[in-house]
């Protein structure tokens, strides 16, 4: 026993090193695991305070382009108001609430920290548990999708950006409804690649890609991007499609957190089927 302790003491440097690296490895593993919240994240009091301080300054610089984007979005929304339509029929149909059950509600949030230059990027938003934000809610903005909520504290939440190695979004071609999946390959924050579109599907530059109805996180039909480049390489049955993302991740300042009110119901229904796959 005494020899054992002597041995441990002799290599104490190496052993402490191994212990600390194991601890770090545990932290990394836990951070990668989506269903468990991570210890070390940017929703704690100190880092959010400092990040919002920096954000207050940088926000001011981007004010002009943010205003432009918001007014563009306002204009688009105004076109949906009933006032802009001329009613040319005497018959009016009124939808009662029993017909239209609300499925999505949106929480507006401000981005207080955002990165785009890592392989795995995260955002921090200024809305949290007290306003009903929960992990695995989707985040979108006026231009397109942003990411998925990961950790939540009382007043803040951190969001796994779409610019992340693990993000994978089911996408649909608007013109012919073929389904593929959109992943970020890490080169450039304005482009992503669309996988799993078979070679017989006709895809041309300029085609629109939107979210599919398969996801319980994002509403259907949110803009993802447009096709920028199509090529096919030998060896597999799929095309290589580069997508120009509609969201400009470098300029995000106001976003919406998507609350799917029927998500739990859908999940509960699908849960028993998971083992069959």
């Amino acid at each position: 026993m005494r020899n054992l302790f002597l041995l441990l003491w002799k290599y104490n440097f190496f052993i402490l090193f191994l212990l600390l690296e194991t601890f770090c490895g545990y932290l990394i593993f836990q951070n990668n695991n989506f269903h468990r919240s991570s210890f070390v994240n940017s929703t704690n009091a100190l880092s959010t305070r400092i990040n919002s301080f920096v954000n207050n300054i940088t926000d001011y610089i981007d004010l002009r382009s943010t205003n432009e984007a918001l007014s563009r979005e306002n204009a688009a929304l105004k076109m949906l108001l009933p006032d802009v339509f001329y009613i040319d029929s005497a018959l009016q149909k009124i939808n009662k609430d029993t017909v239209l059950k609300q499925q999505y509600s949106f929480i507006a949030a401000k981005v207080i920290n955002n990165t785009i230059n890592r392989r795995n990027n995260y955002l921090t938003l200024d809305k949290g548990l007290l306003l009903g934000v929960k992990p695995e809610m989707g985040v979108i903005c006026g231009e397109g999708i942003v990411g998925i909520v990961k950790d939540v504290s009382d007043h803040y939440c951190s969001v796994m950006s779409f610019l992340h190695k693990d993000s994978r979004i089911t996408a649909r071609m608007k013109k012919n409804n073929f389904i593929g999946s959109l992943v970020w390959d890490g080169y450039d924050e304005t482009h992503a690649s669309l996988k799993d579109i078979a070679k017989h599907v006709v895809v041309i530059k300029g085609d629109t890609i939107i979210t599919s109805s398969y996801s319980s996180i994002f509403p259907e039909g949110v803009m993802l991007g447009i096709v920028d480049e199509v090529s096919s390489s030998g060896g597999n049955n799929f095309q290589d499609i580069r997508i120009k993302l509609s969201t400009s991740f470098g300029k995000l300042s106001y976003v919406y957190i998507v609350n799917n009110l029927l998500k739990d119901e859908q999940r509960a229904l699908e849960e028993p089927l998971k083992n069959d796959r």
């Binding site: 440097f13 090193f17 600390l20 991570s38 940017s42 704690n44 230059n117 795995n120």
Partner: protein, 176 residues
């Protein structure tokens, strides 16, 4: 002793501040993200006990992780770098060994010594950090390129900082 510890603490806040307030917010090109905070661990006194060195490295890494949502990747890379530090210091030691309480700066140790010390340590740290961040082999070469470019940028910033803050007597306490 107390004064020394306070000085190190001040240096810690200063360097972490630069990293978190400025360098983390460079959003240019998708390739540039230098991690200058490693300088804090690199410039700790030569005679610091090994075990304390490792613990300080862990703390530094975790602080940066807290601001960047990177889990424990910075901590892992920094601890590994700190583990290699005594060995590297021995490897590139000057002929007469280190003087007691020697400052590890280009003015004291010589520019070539300082540059080779920086290059070995920063490159090891960045290599480990970027590979842990990507964590797959399919992006092997692009990751290698990224860690190399960022090491050069980090080293350039550190050397410029050393000459800006380190030389005049009044600013000596900023970067020891």
């Amino acid at each position: 002793m107390i004064v020394k510890i306070l000085k190190e603490l001040f240096r810690f806040i200063f360097i972490i501040g630069i990293q978190v307030l400025f360098l983390n917010h460079i959003q240019w090109n998708g390739y540039v993200n230098p991690y200058v905070y490693v300088l804090f661990v690199l410039l700790l006194p030569v005679e610091i006990p090994n075990l304390i060195l490792l613990l300080i490295a862990l703390l530094t890494g975790l602080t940066i992780d807290m601001f960047g949502n990177s889990g424990g990747i910075h901590a892992a890379a920094t601890v590994f770098m700190a583990f290699l530090r005594p060995g590297v210091l021995k490897l590139i030691a000057p002929r007469d060994g280190y003087e007691t309480e020697a400052r590890l700066s280009p003015q004291v140790m010589g520019f070539t010594w300082f540059l080779s010390y920086l290059f070995i340590m920063v490159f090891i740290h960045h290599l480990l950090y970027f590979y842990l961040e990507v964590f797959r082999l399919s992006e092997f070469f692009i990751t290698f390129f990224k860690s190399f470019i960022n090491s050069l940028i980090t080293i350039t910033i550190i050397v410029l900082g050393e000459y800006l803050f380190g030389q005049s007597k009044g600013n000596e306490r900023f970067i020891k």
